[in-house]
Homo-oligomer: 119 residues x 2
DNA sequence: CTTGAATCTGACACTGATGTCAGGTTCTAG
DNA sequence: CTAGAACCTGACATCAGTGTCAGATTCAAG
């Protein structure tokens, strides 16, 4: 599929999809004329990438991580090096702390919303 | 207490504390010479502010929210306007979705880490 | 009083994903 | 063949919190 359709189906802008390619996150075949041509699996991959961005990972980290993930199409997945495992564990712990923060903030908001509703 | 101590006790840089003041998040009394003088409750407040920043709220939103929060010192808390409640509810829902994303990303990382550990 | 640590203001830089625009090329339906 | 939609590259802008530096002032201990 082409970039417009991929953008529509994922809700990610064409600009971002091109950026992902420059960062090595989303390789794209090319038509003879130079237009990007994505496989069906790109939809899932873009959604994964977006999730990881939302989790605060940077593109270079995602680029290291993606080859180690089992794709839905069941491609061969690499194994993380010890160094990468160490980094990913740190990310994991950071995300854990972030989730805890978010839950506290959500509770804070709920408290204020509820207090206003009771009036 | 002064800014250096507050920074040390909260882990937030002096630069950020001054920024919070300009944004109306953290009022500070002044010594005769112009140095900031914070009350003890500032420690908790800074931590709250950091949590809210981590949750993706912007400083203007936090500025609206803070007066409506019950402080630990039990000061009088304002009540959110309907417009603000609407905005905060949107923030709350966004945070909910973000938490779901984070959990998925954490699971992804755990999968890769575990796969490497099994080798 | 002196001295060194702490603080002040103001300004500029940075980050990194994304928005946007310009000017040109490719694709596809009629 | 042709018109219009879709796509290409490259460049510059944005956001908002934070880092950092310079030069001046204040504070506190000897």
């Amino acid at each position: 599929m082409r970039i417009g359709e991929l953008a529509r189906r994922t809700g990610v802008s064409e600009r971002s999809l091109r950026y992902y390619e420059t960062q090595g996150l989303l390789p794209a075949a090319r038509t003879p004329g130079g237009h990007r041509d994505y496989p069906e699996a790109a939809v899932d991959r873009v959604i994964r990438i977006q999730e990881l961005f939302a989790a605060g990972l940077h593109s270079n980290r995602i680029a290291q991580l993606l080859p180690c993930m089992r794709d839905t199409d069941g491609g061969p997945s690499a194994v993380a090096t010890p160094r990468l495992v160490e980094d990913l564990t740190a990310e994991r712990d950071r995300i854990d702390r972030l989730i805890a923060d978010l839950v506290r903030s959500r509770d804070t908001l709920d408290g204020v919303i509820e207090a206003a509703r009771e009036r």
